[in-house]
Symmetry: C2
Subunit: 161 residues, 2 copies
């Protein structure tokens, strides 16, 4: 895995976390970008194709879940926190079949949620936030949308930053 040298340690750590999970490595999930609080992940169609020649619905939801999970993880890491981040619930709508490599993008549902999440984790060792994500085709067509709630729990109660 060649990671861009421009990536900071938190982004390199996230890519390593993704590769360390067997089901995520199998789907060949990789980071495409992280900017302005939005994380973009990609995965090749060949590793995620279904019986109809398009992307497996389970792969699309997994990719969006991971993108949203990554936003929470990166936001906390950049604020100096190490936390276990769990998905609590999610809603997915499938709008169009995907016959190309998969690209998902995620961010907080409310812009102020990132600051609130960091503050809550610092104060209580536990925090939650709602994220949204989507898969769009190369021509801009929305193929799938995701909303979900994530819970972060400070590791071992130790909180730095």
């Amino acid at each position: 895995m060649n990671m861009p040298t421009s990536w900071g340690p938190t982004l390199q750590s996230l890519q390593q976390s993704l590769l360390a999970m067997p089901p995520v490595a199998a789907l060949q999930v990789h980071i495409l970008g992280w900017q302005d609080g939005r994380l973009q992940l990609g995965a090749p169609l060949a590793a995620n194709v279904n019986d109809k020649g398009c992307a497996f619905g389970g792969s699309l939801s997994a990719l969006m879940t991971l993108a949203a999970w990554g936003v929470v993880t990166l936001t906390l890491a950049e604020a100096g926190h190490t936390a276990d981040v769990f998905v609590a619930d999610m809603q997915v709508r499938y709008l169009a079949p995907v016959f190309e490599d998969l690209q998902a993008q995620a961010g907080f549902e409310e812009p102020a949620a990132a600051t609130a999440l960091v503050e809550a984790l610092r104060q209580r060792g536990r925090a939650s936030a709602r994220l949204q994500a989507q898969v769009a085709l190369q021509d801009g067509t929305l193929a799938a949308t995701f909303t979900g709630r994530f819970v972060a729990i400070a590791q071992g109660g130790a909180q730095s930053g």
Copy 2:
């Protein structure tokens, strides 16, 4: 892959469809049982483990999606139909971490939906139904729940049965 000799051709065909999808083969999904309109699927924890040593949320939702998709596919196959079956939307709640091999079970949300699905596909070449699924731990604890809508489209407009 050794399949039980008691399995009929539709169940064997479903297992082959699962293995033919790279992301599903990677998660090592296999059929555990099909009885009274309910399909049970399993997958080993090792192939589906996350960074916290428990089952990846994306694997749990994929397994429940596949179990529900399988119920629609098997119901139509047993009625003599060949159809493409797509997931249209889904809602998942994660209730407890899974530190053991994964087991999901799915069925129609309403018992009468199976008959209505077959009849609608026969008449219009297209049909939809709501399914529910769940992942339970070996001690009976509910670990995740799923509801979702699936759409079936008769292949090539040809309808037998």
